[in-house]
């Protein structure tokens, strides 16, 4: 009984604290602000999509999209991980640069460049909601997207 009483006091205290502190919290974003932030993201994703399909990143005509249509099999959600071609645990950006340098025979992008962030945004956006699972022996699967609506800008 005594313990219960004690618990109640603590609980009331905590609730009061939450109430008081929430009155000092940052106001919730308006719908317009959320939309604006989303628009910024989608612009970056669209820029990444354009780069993903641009052979000018390399010198042999290939683009990332040749092997990775819809960003498929780029598996951004599984990085950092051990990657045999990198010979170490690497990041998605390192993997993208490996593909640019080795497969596309181009110059690697600065890791923190707008271009690299856009490429990462495209790859990640196409994999939203995909569950992380260890790789199987079987050839990669692709990202499920509805035809013609990979994301709104296309």
């Amino acid at each position: 009984m005594k313990i219960l009483k004690h618990t109640n006091v603590v609980l009331i205290g905590v609730l009061t604290l939450v109430f008081v502190s929430s009155s000092f919290a940052k106001p919730l974003r308006t719908e317009a602000q959320v939309a604006e932030e989303q628009e910024m993201l989608m612009k970056t994703v669209a820029k990444g999509d354009a780069l993903w399909h641009n052979p000018k990143l390399g010198t042999n005509g290939l683009a990332c999209g040749n092997c990775h249509p819809d960003g498929s099999a780029s598996n951004p959600h599984t990085f950092p991980k051990y990657q045999s071609n990198l010979g170490k645990v690497g990041t998605l950006r390192e993997m993208i640069n490996w593909c640019v340098a080795v497969v596309l025979q181009g110059s690697p992008l600065p890791s923190d460049s707008d271009e690299m962030i856009a490429m990462e945004a495209y790859s990640t956006f196409t994999h939203r909601g995909v569950v992380i699972a260890p790789a199987k022996d079987e050839q990669h699967g692709a990202v499920p997207v509805v035809s013609g609506a990979g994301y709104p800008s296309r």
Binding site: G61, G65, C67, S84, V103, A135, E138, A142
Partner: protein, 338 residues
């Protein structure tokens, strides 16, 4: 035993065989029942056994010393080494990447090293810069047929999209650029088109239903994954024209992967490219056991290969994926029975 030969399509160990049969029973499409009677008839028709080779999707670039040139050259060498020598080779389209004549000329030069004749169809990458003009100059007809040892072979251009460029005022180069993207949303679905359906109807009109038929198209004759044009929009019409035959074997390029399906009297198989492998689309396959292994991005020739197909006297085909690196699971190493 012969009666279930259609389901027992893998040349395989007993264990995998049982698993495959089980899959067939679990997912019995209407078609797999419809086909049974047909196979029994097909067995009556005698074919003189032979082997042919298949290559597809080289995606050659107009760049000197490009590594895809070397892969196609390797594939040609491998095909030339096959013993007994294949009677001919079928090429499944996308010899070039951007529709340039120079790409196709380079491809033709490499294919000229084949020690056997070849028959070729166009893919979208060969076509949309000049609407197939250079391709036709170099290779001739887009739809063709011939008979070999009692088998009727058909090749068709299956990559004709409806005009999406005129209204938008796109240049030929812009049109080609869009078609080069697998996930091009503006390009729309492709098919053989009505004139080709008429051609096919006339082509097979006087051929008896017991004649074995092999048809090659760039894209699959079933709805695999329309988003990537892994389809042919008028495939239902093609299948209905070919329905009278006891058995049809369909092979297709475009998908850059091992894939198998049965639709009615048609056994269909996808082919390996000599450029790059593609991931499996996010769809449930009726024959999920027949898949290639994951390609290693660090090994350029992983996931690529050549093919040979032997046809026996009862028109049972055995498609051998001759992969360049070790990508086939055990159940496919001895071939895919078609």
């Amino acid at each position: 035993m012969k009666k279930i030969s259609r389901r027992d399509f893998l040349g395989i160990t007993t264990k995998i065989g049982a698993a495959t049969l089980f899959t067939g029973i679990l997912a019995p499409t209407a078609s797999s029942f419809l086909g049974l009677g047909g196979v029994a008839h097909a067995a009556r028709r005698s074919t003189k056994p032979f082997t042919f080779a298949v290559l597809t999707d080289a995606h050659l670039y107009d760049i000197k010393g490009h590594r895809f040139d070397g892969i196609l050259e390797r594939a040609v060498k491998e095909v030339n080494k096959i013993s007994p020598r294949p009677d001919f080779l079928l090429y499944g389209g996308d010899l070039g990447q951007s529709g340039k004549k120079d790409e196709l000329v380079k491809g033709k030069k490499i294919l000229s090293k084949l020690k056997m004749p070849y028959h070729i169809i166009p893919g979208e990458h060969d076509y949309y810069l000049d609407m197939g003009e250079a391709w036709r100059d170099l290779f001739g007809k887009e739809n063709w047929s011939f008979n070999h040892n009692g088998v009727h072979f058909i090749g068709m251009n299956s990559i004709k999209v409806k005009d999406f460029w005129s209204l938008k005022g796109l240049t030929p180069k812009e049109r080609m650029g869009l078609m080069e993207e697998l996930e091009c949303h503006k390009c729309g679905l492709w098919g053989v088109g009505e004139p080709s359906l008429d051609w096919l109807m006339k082509n097979v009109k006087n051929i008896s239903p017991s004649t074995p038929v092999v048809i090659m198209t760039h894209s699959p004759l079933w709805d695999y994954y329309p988003r990537w044009n892994f389809q042919t929009y008028d495939a239902p019409e093609i299948r209905s024209i070919l329905r009278k035959f006891d058995k049809v074997i369909a092979i297709h390029g475009h998908v850059h992967q091992v894939v198998y399906n049965e639709i009615g009297n048609i056994n269909s198989a996808g082919l390996l490219s000599t450029s790059w492998p593609w991931p499996y689309p996010p769809v449930d396959l009726p024959y999920p056991l027949i898949k290639q292994r994951r390609a290693d991005p660090g090994i350029f020739e992983d996931g690529l290969g050549a093919h040979s197909m032997s046809v026996d006297k009862s028109f049972a085909g055995m498609l051998n994926y001759r992969e360049f690196a070790d990508l086939l699971p055990e159940n496919l190493k001895r071939g895919l029975k078609l």
